[in-house]
Symmetry: C2
Subunit: 338 residues, 2 copies
DNA sequence: TTGAGAAATACAATCGATTGCATTTCAATA
DNA sequence: TATTGAAATGCAATCGATTGTATTTCTCAA
């Protein structure tokens, strides 16, 4: 049951562990004959290097830590996939934690990863997170840190973000151009950069057409299906909007289904738009206009950044910010038949 | 930049590392005074235990390896989430790999995890995998192994699976009872247990009503949206089926959209059913009848199994199989208005 | 004051691999 | 044959924490 070590190989061949180690790494000072013998024996004995031991000795970790709010949200699952596709060929394994949108769990996760001496940490913060102390600790201990999507800007750290502002801005312009004027807007917590930027981009887009957004027509909460569904009731009591825009797709979906249930026609009575291009937005009826985020690309960019930071750890390079462009996807839910 | 060790604490307090180590673990032979002093100093110096060193010394890993075909498929993302929710409180971190449905990558992943000396491995095999040698190696090295969902039964290993047979069986009965008789069936590779079981369950369900499944009405391939979409063309050329059933939801979705595009009414002209209860099936129009798999529960069960195996490693217990019940979800796509 | 025994702490080996430096081996040259 | 220097291998420390076995310190009773 005990695994084979280089000492076992050495003993078998009447060599020392150091020679075996060097042979396995093709060290030039080991004769060809010995090298081949060692490799053959390693194969025979089913030797598998113990990377725990290697990490301890060399001080280099072979793993990268990743913290996301929820693994099973498609956006994050897709970024994880993008990250993995870069880190795996680079020889790093991924240790994945979910914060469950909980600040304390996030702090716990960071502690765990630091104990594991990961080579670097990639994080998208929980929506409860309103401070940066726990993130600063990471950098202070010399561990490369890359934030993505939901980021805090009050610390020195590289990050990968979407052009949220622009995405929402273009959406706003599209809607106005399609003839919508009285908007309701559903947003997530505005202390998170992503929702703040989407909100501001949206307002700016309207502003350029001199369209106003009534403050009483703004709802904020967690952008779930249920929240979207419930918000419609509140909104329809007031001055009827002719378009309901959500900073997240699931809430938009809730809006759509509540409207359909209430007998409203979308988009003829009311238009609906979301954000994130969740798969379902393409297949519901009517298909929902939304903004593609290219999550996979977001992930691979984050992974490349962290690899660079790990490689160039000695010299403290300035933090870099990479922006991934969004893309407005116009579908039936916001286009009236002329 | 270098991290603080127990030696640093020891030096500071004129103690030895062993005393510090024992103090931190509340060893009874260390005086209360020293214990508290050590803990205070550890706090002050920002000491973080190096779990690499601990693992090497104790021979116990603090991580569990997980291999799935694709992280960004909702079913797997959900199982991962379920696994994490169990392993994390138990003090294990998760190292996640994706095989990308590629056999060689899967073998690579296993090697990596074994080098990392994970405490156990949880796997759902790729659809290219048709042998078990690489899995046997895991057990042979004394590493607990748990398979889930897509499993190989030709080796001794615990596993967590759905009642695929029953799920499909119930679906078949439902369809016949709704008055459908001429079926087309879309399946994934039949060398995978899940597709084999679904197929057999489906046939058995039909058989009990003396309904036959024409072999020429069976299509097999990767159950993607595109595959579903394309299959319709082939099927409609023949004797028209009155229901198209897919062993996966995305293909069912492709079927649905192709039918709609061809001007067929679902379910009045043709019924459509899928498998997996992907979110989108609930929101498309008509909503698609499907089978819920409880992926999250599948994951937490797999995690519990591996924890048990890790705990009871000494005595070789018999491999266990846990079945997670499926649940037939009947929606509009298979229910004709009377 | 001394000795016994308990209490507290120190010593040293260990986990498996790596690596600077020392030592051995061997072939080629003087 | 002795010498030299390169080639090949061995020795031993190290990474940070743990743990069995000393050893020291202390307390209390005789």
């Amino acid at each position: 049951m005990k695994q084979v070590t280089i000492h076992d190989i050495a003993r078998r061949l009447n060599l020392t562990a150091s020679t075996v180690s060097r042979a396995l790494h093709n060290h030039p000072r080991i004769s060809k004959k010995t090298r081949e013998l060692v490799k053959k024996t390693a194969e025979e004995l089913n030797y598998r290097p113990n990377s725990i031991a290697t990490s301890l000795r060399t001080g280099k970790a072979n793993s990268i830590g990743l913290i996301v709010p929820k693994i099973n949200r498609f956006f994050f699952a897709d970024t994880i996939s993008g990250i993995e596709s870069v880190t795996s060929p680079a020889g790093y394994s991924l240790i994945i934690c979910q914060s469950n949108e909980n600040y304390r769990k996030e702090v716990e996760n960071i502690k765990t990863l630091m104990r594991s001496r990961v080579a670097g940490i990639i994080i998208s913060i929980s929506n409860e997170t309103v401070s940066s102390g726990h993130l600063k600790v990471i950098s202070e201990n010399g561990i490369p840190l890359v934030q993505f999507d939901r980021v805090r800007t009050d610390l020195r750290s590289s990050m990968v973000v979407n052009t949220n502002y622009r995405g929402s801005y273009e959406l706003a312009r599209h809607l106005v151009e399609e003839g919508f004027h009285r908007f309701a807007y559903l947003t997530g917590p505005l202390h998170l950069n992503i929702y703040k930027e989407r909100y501001e981009g949206f307002r700016q887009g309207l502003k350029e057409y001199a369209v106003d957004l009534d403050p009483s027509m703004i709802c904020d909460g967690e952008l779930t299906y249920q929240f979207g569904f419930d918000s419609v009731g509140r909104l329809l009591k007031k001055d009827l909007p002719d378009a309901i825009v959500s900073a997240g797709d699931y809430a938009a979906l809730g809006v759509l289904f509540c409207l359909k249930q209430a007998g409203k026609r979308v988009p003829d009575d009311i238009a609906v738009a979301g954000y994130a291009n969740e798969q379902v937005t393409a297949f519901c009826d009517p298909a929902i206009t939304t903004v593609e985020q290219y999550a996979h690309r977001l992930g691979s960019n984050a992974a490349n950044l962290i690899l660079e930071e790990i490689a160039g750890k000695q010299q403290a390079k300035p933090a870099r910010t990479v922006e991934v462009n969004t893309h407005l996807i116009i579908r039936e839910s916001t286009v009236r038949n002329k």
